[in-house]
């Protein structure tokens, strides 16, 4: 990666548009943490590709000086996969909400995890549909009353980090908007990781989910992981702990990335060197 300035400042990464989030929205802090990580990594702006879906959190790319693609609801991940597969030079980062990433887009996560493209996925978990003003999301806690569950939510809520572990993502972490320094560090690690990095970010919706993430209650339950568990089952156990909300890295392993796999296939297919399209015609003679 080629650097534009020796020591980029925070401002170097600020986009032209001002964030439109509500006052008190946790997403501001995530933006800050990301920029901090980018700064520390000295990412050249033009090599950052930010891809998102639809939701408050998906506005993220608008506020960063980078190439940004704000697509449709739930498809950020497969779009980003297309970006990375086709241009390995780019540092691809995805921003998605809990609804975007786990409800409508939930079918893509297991497959992208398997494919292991070198993408960093920021899942903004505010446990609510923010942009559409307060309907239940897959991570809304049981009993929460929402616009679409006026009598309180039934059923189990989803655990993003746990799922990512089950899907075999090669880097899985959980951070919180309210712990910006720590989050920034996780994002930095995620971007450095070669492969698919899944980072669940506990954030808050100050307009439509004020009860849930009442900061003091959650803060009490937050427990930083000392080290990354070696064992997959231990990681699953920690991620699904209901007493503590563990923050930190749950898994960090190596596996060929999508682009490495693709490179391998190419080499196998070109045993005797690359082929010209014209020469393929022989097979039809």
């Amino acid at each position: 990666m080629e650097l534009e300035t020796e020591n980029p400042t925070f401002e170097c990464y600020l986009g032209n548009l001002d964030p439109v989030w509500c006052p008190g929205c946790g997403d501001f802090s995530v933006l800050g943490a990301f920029i901090e990580a980018a700064r520390r990594l000295r990412l050249p702006n033009h090599q950052i590709a930010l891809v998102s879906g639809i939701g408050c959190s998906s506005r993220f790319p608008f506020f960063v000086k980078a190439y940004g693609f704000h697509g449709v609801h739930g498809r950020a991940l497969p779009i980003a996969q297309g970006v990375k597969l086709s241009n390995p030079e780019l540092t691809v980062v995805v921003a998605a909400g809990d609804g975007d990433g786990l409800a409508i887009g939930g079918g893509h996560l297991p497959h992208v995890s398997r494919n292991n493209p070198d993408i960093t996925y920021l899942l903004f978990n505010n446990s609510i549909y923010g942009l559409t003003k307060g309907q239940s999301s897959p991570t809304s806690p049981t009993n929460l009353a929402t616009k679409t569950a006026p009598y309180g939510l039934m059923g189990e809520s989803m655990n993003p980090a746990f799922l990512a572990l089950a899907y075999g993502a090669t880097f899985v972490a959980r951070g919180a908007a309210i712990k910006r320094e720590h989050l920034s560090d996780l994002i930095e690690q995620g971007i450095r990781h070669r492969g698919f990095s899944f980072i669940e970010i506990l954030t808050s919706c100050s307009s439509f989910n004020t009860k849930h993430l009442a900061i003091t209650k959650v803060l009490q339950r937050m427990a930083p992981l000392e080290t990354c568990p070696e064992d997959d089952l231990e990681a699953l156990r920690l991620a699904s702990d209901t007493r503590h909300i563990h923050l930190g890295v749950f898994r960090n392993v190596k596996r060929p990335t999508l682009n490495e796999q693709e490179e391998h296939i190419r080499q196998v297919s070109q045993k005797t060197g690359p082929v010209a399209v014209g020469s393929l015609l022989q097979a039809f003679a």
């Binding site: 534009e4 986009g15 032209n16 548009l17 050249p44 702006n45 033009h46 090599q47 590709a49 891809v51 639809i54 790319p61 608008f62 000086k65 980078a66 190439y67 940004g68 693609f69 704000h70 697509g71 449709v72 498809r75 497969p78 779009i79 980003a80 996969q81 297309g82 970006v83 990375k84 597969l85 086709s86 241009n87 030079e89 780019l90 079918g107 893509h108 297991p110 497959h111 494919n115 999508l258 693709e262 296939i265 190419r266 196998v268 297919s269 070109q270 690359p274 082929v275 010209a276 399209v277 014209g278 393929l280 015609l281 039809f284 003679a285």
Partner: protein, 601 residues
């Protein structure tokens, strides 16, 4: 039921799936192509998972062919069912070769000569196994019509290269036994009917193979896809060959992920495509609209099959046209193209890439099962003279003033790819201003809607698409036909037949279906009094587009049989219209047009 044409031959081979019928027909096809013949084939795919009736027809001629023919000169049938199902397809004067074991009484018709051939017995006695039945058939047909044997042997050797020696030996035995049997028991007056042609040998490929090759020729970087009949072979060909030429291939978890991948790669500045069939195109609707809005190129092949829903997955139809043109919410411009032949499947894909890239919007290429799976000859120089690409990326001089969605005369804005220093910007499915920033002001939306649609108008004037429509027949005719896609083949023959009968008729087959080629169509329609629109769909989808665009009355000819039109079906309609014109019936009027609308056929 016309007589056999000189230096032309139509063979139909039928039996049970698994009996090796396709091998026979394909071998003869390839040999014929090497002899310099043009050819076109048609095959049915059993609906069931395994087993079921199987048939392949093969027509060869010294002139270019785009239709496997209405009637066969010879039918070779392995079982009774195969005879019953295909007997009617024999032309007068045709011959029937059938398994001698069949005991049931056979259908008869005057002028059809029938010859029992003991395929079964010979296979067991002379080749030693039942599996070589098809080799015997191959030998019989080769001998009967004078195909040169050596190239056949050569071909089989190539085909079975990876199998054990015994397999090829058995094949050889079967082939020889068939030749021998024919020499001894079958008439020899056909054997001179095929004369080796001058000219260079031709290539034989299916529409799907041609489409895949076209994509490679266009410089495809990335393919994303999910298997679906009848387009899977495009994907499978690319799985094998795209990495060989340096491209990237990804099988995704569904069609939505596939088109999302295409979208991502396109945004990253790479040439990307997917191939699917109707159900997949339906699922792609939403992201097709995103591509329109973010002004990204993409090529999507839809090999149509019988619908709606899962419908008739192995049968042909042309019923996704209106979905292709209108199938996204909002006013979402796209390009729709339809090749008519195998050769064109290659060319039109290249054109689709060029247009998609030049006008920065998705291009849907409509093929159909019959075209996708039929073998046809194409010239060996098929890769020369393909459409040229304009430069894709345009970096402004001053990065800071760069506007990704700048308003221009044609509506086309300068495109810069991620990774370019200083041109950072955002693309969004939200309405946006020239810089790409979301803006919902009423004028911004009005102006940007106009911008996006302007590109279609510019495209319609582009030399890349001028003269693209096929026009043929009697120029002065008052009866006109407008058709699309693979229906081109039977229309060419129907027009020929009609003219031969003294009925003047002309035809226009546009390859560009959206936007319609107004120049060509207006001139054609202006000189047409009766317009026939034959389509393999129920509601008359091209007819609907023509009426909404030109407000002309259409005489629909709709067939949803799952198989291509026969030329005679179209001929009959021409005759009917010609007669009614003679009797000067009133022109189809408002009322008829209403009745002809969806649902009242």
């Amino acid at each position: 039921m016309s007589a056999q044409q000189p230096n032309e031959l139509t063979l139909r081979i039928a039996g049970e799936s698994g009996e090796g019928i396709i091998t026979v027909a394909e071998s003869l096809s390839r040999v014929a192509a090497r002899m310099g013949f043009h050819l076109s084939t048609f095959r049915t795919f059993p609906a069931e998972i395994k087993g079921g009736a199987c048939m392949m027809q093969l027509r060869l001629s010294e002139r270019p062919l785009f239709h496997p023919g209405d009637f066969a000169d010879a039918l070779l049938a392995f079982n009774e069912e195969a005879i019953r199902a295909n007997f009617d397809s024999l032309r007068d004067g045709g011959i029937l070769l059938y398994e001698a074991d069949i005991e049931a009484p056979l259908p008869r018709r005057e002028g059809i000569a029938s010859f029992p051939v003991p395929f079964h017995r010979i296979a067991l006695q002379e080749a030693g196994n039942l599996a070589s039945k098809n080799m015997i058939a191959l030998g019989v047909l080769a001998q009967l019509y004078g195909f040169p044997i050596e190239p056949i042997v050569h071909l089989l050797e190539e085909k079975f290269r990876r199998r054990s020696k015994a397999v090829m030996e058995n094949n050889r035995k079967g082939l020889d036994a068939g030749i021998h049997y024919a020499q001894q028991h079958l008439p020899d007056h056909f054997s001179g009917s095929l004369k080796m042609l001058p000219g260079p040998p031709k290539l034989v490929m299916t529409g799907n193979e041609a489409a895949a090759l076209g994509a490679l020729a266009a410089g495809l970087d990335c393919f994303f896809g999910y298997p679906i009949t009848p387009s899977s072979e495009i994907m499978e060909y690319l799985a094998k060959n795209l990495p060989r030429v340096g491209g990237k291939f990804l099988q995704t978890e569904d069609e939505i992920s596939a088109i999302a991948g295409v979208c991502g790669a396109a945004w990253a500045g790479r040439r990307a495509m997917s191939a699917t069939s109707g159900p997949g195109l339906s699922l792609m609707s939403e992201i097709l609209g995103l591509l329109s809005m973010t002004e990204l190129p993409a090529v999507i092949v839809d090999s149509q099959r019988g619908g709606p829903s899962t419908g008739l997955p192995t049968k042909t139809e042309q019923s996704d046209l209106l979905l292709a043109v209108y199938g996204s919410h909002g006013d979402a411009p796209r390009i729709v193209l339809a090749p008519t032949t195998v050769r064109e499947s290659l060319e039109v894909i290249v054109l689709a890439f060029a247009l998609a890239e030049k006008y920065q919007m998705p291009a849907i290429v409509l093929m159909d099962q019959a075209l996708s799976s039929r073998l046809e000859t194409v010239d060996a120089d098929i890769l020369s003279n393909l459409p040229k690409f304009p430069p894709t990326e345009e970096r402004g001089e001053t990065p800071s003033e760069y506007k990704r969605f700048q308003l221009t005369e044609t509506g086309v804005s300068p495109r810069v790819f991620p990774g370019t220093p200083g041109h950072e910007h955002i693309s969004t499915g939200l309405e946006h201003n020239e810089r790409g920033e979301p803006e919902y002001d009423e004028w911004v939306h009005t102006i940007m809607s106009a911008k996006r649609h302007k590109k279609l108008a510019a495209l319609a004037r582009d030399p890349l698409v001028s003269g693209l429509s096929s026009m043929f027949g009697a120029e002065e005719a008052e009866i006109g036909i407008v058709a699309w896609g693979s229906t081109y083949g039977p229309v060419t023959e129907a027009v020929e037949l009609a003219i031969a009968q003294g009925i003047p008729v002309k035809a226009l087959v546009p390859k560009l279906l959206h936007p319609l080629p107004h120049g060509e169509l207006k001139a054609f329609l202006a000189s047409t009094k009766k317009l026939i629109v034959p389509e393999m769909n129920f509601t008359g989808q091209l007819a609907t587009l023509l009426r909404s665009t030109y407000r002309i009355p259409t005489i629909r000819l709709n067939r949803v049989k799952g198989v291509p039109f026969r030329a005679v079906e179209i001929l009959e309609k021409i005759q009917e219209v010609a007669e009614s014109a003679g009797r000067s019936r009133p022109e189809p009027e408002l009322l008829e047009s209403v009745g002809a609308n969806r649902g009242e056929s």
